[in-house]
Symmetry: C2
Subunit: 632 residues, 2 copies
């Protein structure tokens, strides 16, 4: 890479460059085009005049990057970069890396040493309870030097105590193994990073005999921006535990869960973008996740191999723009959007329907779909992705005609082939003749505004409120099912479901929200998934969707122009009762706060553009002072 | 990556795996599909039965690779690999890496400590002469501890003594700097790798006062296979110095020159492939160079940014197949061939002519072409590349129709637009109206068989033998000019030119052959290039082409079926006089030897398929015994 910037200097000025990799500098006098190479080991002085500073960096094992220090000449977002292919682009910068001794290949985490909140002797061993899931390294400081010990990790008490079958067990037998290291000087053994709430040490009756055990909790400290509390204590608790769950799953990227898979899945991440808006509103985290998911320009398979996940990635760009209104990022991501949609469209037939190719996975949800021929829900998601493509490409002034016309054809054919007027529902497959109805395609139809009011009512009655249609069991799709209810104005259903479904997890002892919850499962069976006794993740990002559902539909906050240039609050006052909330409305720390105490509503914002809807009236939200509304 | 292989075992067997990166193993019982994960830190035992061994390796900073040791289970070319995209492929292996403690990211060089052949006091300093160019680290063992010293490197004596302007000067002022390191224990300073014949130490009257200076020559030891000596001592010397030049420029890849650029240029490399056939016949070196030049599948610019260099890369694949007949490598390289030709064809107009796009470089040679509109020589190279594409794709049973028809159109239009019957030559440009004739397009026309005998004669007379047409000054194009003469049966011209042009370099003191030679340049001017006083490379691979010209045209060896399945010798006996030669005819060490002493020709080969043409008679070359022909 080369990094460069022009300077017009009235006096000579000195600067020093640190790089990651190998490289050199070049000083180009833009008057006579004389070039001076210089080594980066020492300070360099740029004389008065019109110069371009060029820093060349090669790094085959990581990120080529540079840090320039000087009174005038300094690295910042105004520099440009080139890899010698095509036009130069603006350099990337990160607010996490502003010190010269930092290496951008080593993400800076916050560390917190924690002790167990509870220490209990069970079955002749010691059970430690840290209160909720953590991602941490375990440190054992031995009293009398190293000795063998076994750590049984558990997200649940049941799992930790199941010495035979716990998902993560570490039998420390040697001082150094691939899963940990021993420090002779401090007599301390430190494990690799693991996620757990409990640690059980079988055979250790008294931990003090062994030494002390602390865990080094490793996380990214996103600022505390949002607040929410309601007279309904359960709802308050659901919001808090959702917040904890999302934070634990947020780091360099939005990952799915802390124990498993610790992976960036595009569908899961897409829901995190929505939650992020109502929690810590981190712009870089969304950008990193979007970029990380997509990888290099050339593409050979769908994101995470899942066709629908590629589609959510595309829709996620629209969501990104609506949230942050950063057109610069759209420019950066555009080639990757175009290549991805074109890759997807290679599997589209003459009706516009997308098919499964070898190696593709048509997922949608953990549910029993009729997968014969193209699946209806997949076509809905493709149509929605095409809308995002058209919207973003239009902003970037690119040709949208082929995507627009395919979208139109697809919409017509979805209705023609999948709508079953006798079932009053979209069916999974037109190819099988089974006319199976699942909730998913019907949820999307409402969510994406693909049905008129009449058909939406049919779906509500014959699918969403029909107990004979298999229920949604993942919080992942529960998210969209509840959004569909919201679209239909069924806010009471949202509140009731949040309280029963997420409340049900709380009653089952959850201190973070789960990957999957079926109220009918009892005992250890609740923890099984994917054929593994403890395969279920008990701290799963998509479990945190009440953050979004409460913020977006009960508190009723949404941007009405990209980047919250204008925004609206439409709280469901009758449902919430007394409550208090604060939510972000920009990536630079702006917030809107509101509080309801009996018949008094107080609202204020730190920036212009807000309006509040109360009793069908739109009132402007004042900046840095309170608007008090007294309700009848 | 995953590496895997199936075994059917009658007894249990143990193996141990070393990897570069992080990973784990999996043992899959192919009867009951039970999977057992295992750590790679310890030996693993595979039970009797039908199993698949899977080794998973992740390496973000280099090559993911594995080395499996065991009595039965061992890594070799029979394993397969997958990056989880598409079909599995055969693993790559390398004969350079057959020891468990080797890291395939560190190429193994041979080292040889050398002392100067000559040590001379000049201008109050010491001048060391190592006899010819070397790529080496300089080691100074100080008598009385570290002291400042300056090293002025030179490929020529003139350069080394020019303390002010030498291309590479190293002022050692500190014990450790980016260009070297000091070992306190041995009081030895070791520099970075540099290429030079001479080192001048200004101010050091007596080297013994300072200490001892040796250089650590670093190279890949390709076997000595070819031999050539003739009664003509100058011709023998030209062959030997060509061999030295090519070897110095051959390592992990074929590079252009040792001092400058130390870079893999596709055009230069293409000529090296030809020379390699008549010298050490290294198959892996050609494969590494082909792969290294092309990089990843997706392509954004031409190889080295040069359009013609992309074309030579394509033609080089045909040359590779003709030399080694390895269809497996064609399978590997096919997607990259297809993507490259398709990328190139994006810049082709309705006549089939390729144009220069922004960022493209239409090079052909260091010569003054009429560059207005598409250049004739470039169209010739495109046509030739299309032929290679058609030939290779046909072998691989791929669709060649679009390439074939474009080739036909292009050939017709080249003749229609560029042939100037009044000039009896192809002109550079039809767009400018200048009708400028350069040698290059005309050389290609003969070389690629694009002209009939009549037109070839016109070109010979009006271009190649016409002193008014600017001469070729690079050995690079001299190569092809001489091949064109050979095509016309002008072997005497080849011999004469080799002796005058390369002989001219010898007379100028060359001990390796140069990047560029103009007999009219005298003194220090001979060393200048690219606006730099010592910019010219004096050890440049393309300078070694007598290896090929002698072997291919004077000795007359060529394969007549791919991979030398059959081959032919047609020596120019009248021109060579008494001579002796041995040349490779396979990548596994087969050779053909011949010797002429007065009227007796002796020839033998180590494998079948050879024939020798003497006095228009074709005689079979016997295997492992001599055929003696007595000539009238």
């Amino acid at each position: 890479m080369s990094f460069f910037k022009e300077y017009r200097l009235t006096d000579a000025t000195t600067f020093k460059t640190e790089i990651q990799g190998e490289g050199y500098g070049k000083l180009v006098n833009l008057k006579d085009h004389e070039e001076t190479k210089f080594a980066l080991t020492e300070s360099m002085t740029c004389p008065a005049g019109h110069y371009r500073i060029e820093i060349y960096v090669a790094n085959l094992a990581g990120l080529p990057c540079a840090y320039v220090q000087g009174k005038i000449i300094q690295s910042d977002a105004s520099w440009q970069a080139s890899n010698f292919l095509g036009e130069a682009i603006d350099v990337g910068t990160s607010r996490y890396f502003d010190q010269v001794d930092q290496n951008p290949m080593q993400f800076v985490y916050t560390h917190e040493l924690r002790q167990a909140l509870k220490n209990e002797t069970v079955n002749g061993g010691t059970l430690l309870d840290f209160g909720h899931d953590l991602t941490a390294k375990t440190r054992i400081a031995f009293n009398q030097g190293f000795r063998s010990v076994t750590l049984c990790y558990g997200e649940s008490r049941t799992e930790a105590l199941d010495v035979q079958d716990t998902y993560l067990k570490h039998q420390i037998r040697e001082k150094n193994d691939p899963f940990g290291t021993y420090n002779e000087a401090t007599q301390t053994y430190t494990t690799k990073l693991r996620a757990f709430r409990y640690i059980y040490l079988p055979g250790i009756q008294n931990l003090d005999d062994l030494g002390t055990l602390k865990v080094d909790f490793e996380f990214v400290k996103f600022p505390k921006i949002s607040e929410f509390s309601a007279a309904d204590k359960q709802l308050t608790q659901i919001w808090q535990i959702s917040d904890r769950t999302l934070r634990l799953c947020s780091g360099i990227f939005f990952i799915d869960g802390v124990k498993r898979d610790r992976w960036v899945w595009a569908g899961d991440a897409f829901q995190c973008y929505a939650m992020n808006r109502y929690d810590f509103f981190d712009k870089e985290l969304v950008e990193r996740t979007i970029l990380g998911l997509r990888g290099e320009l050339d593409i050979k398979q769908h994101l995470d191999t899942i066709v629908d996940y590629s589609m959510y990635w595309l829709i996620g760009i629209e969501d990104y723009y609506e949230t942050f209104a950063d057109k610069h990022f759209l420019d950066v991501i555009y080639p990757k959007m175009k290549r991805l949609i074109d890759f997807a469209l290679e599997a589209v037939d003459e009706r516009g329907f997308i098919h499964e190719r070898k190696g593709d996975w048509i997922y949608i949800d953990w549910a029993d779909f009729d997968h014969q021929g193209p699946l209806c829900a997949e076509q809905m998601v493709l149509a929605r992705a095409l809308q995002s493509v058209v919207k973003i490409f239009t902003i970037l002034d690119k040709n949208v005609a082929p995507y627009e016309s395919l979208y139109q054809k697809l919409r017509v054919n979805i209705d023609k082939y999948y709508w079953d007027s006798q079932k009053h529902a979209y069916i999974d497959s037109y190819a099988s003749g089974k006319h199976q109805v699942s909730r998913h395609a019907n949820i999307f139809a409402i969510l994406f505004d693909y049905v008129d009011q009449k058909r939406a009512q049919e779906i509500l009655e014959h699918v969403l409120r029909n107990p004979e249609i298999a229920a949604i069991n993942t919080p992942y799709f529960k998210f969209w099912e509840l959004e569909a209810f919201a679209k239909m104005g069924e806010y009471q259903t949202i509140l009731t479901t949040i309280k029963s479904y997420w409340g049900g997890m709380l009653e089952s002892g959850a201190t973070t929200f789960w990957e999957y919850f079926d109220p009918n499962e009892k005992g250890a069976a609740r923890y099984a998934m994917y054929g593994d006794k403890y395969g279920k993740s008990l701290c799963h990002a998509w479990g945190a969707s009440p953050l979004y559902l409460i913020g977006r539909y009960l508190v009723g906050l949404k941007p009405t122009k990209p980047g919250y240039q204008t925004f609206e609050l439409a709280p469901q006052l009758a449902l919430l009762g007394d409550f208090k909330g604060k939510f972000p409305i920009s990536a630079t720390g702006d917030t809107v706060s509101l509080e309801v105490q009996r018949n008094k509503l107080t609202v204020k914002a730190t920036k212009v553009g807000g309006s509040i809807v109360v009793a069908d009236k739109h009132l402007e939200i004042p900046v840095d002072k309170e608007l008090v509304i007294t309700m009848k």
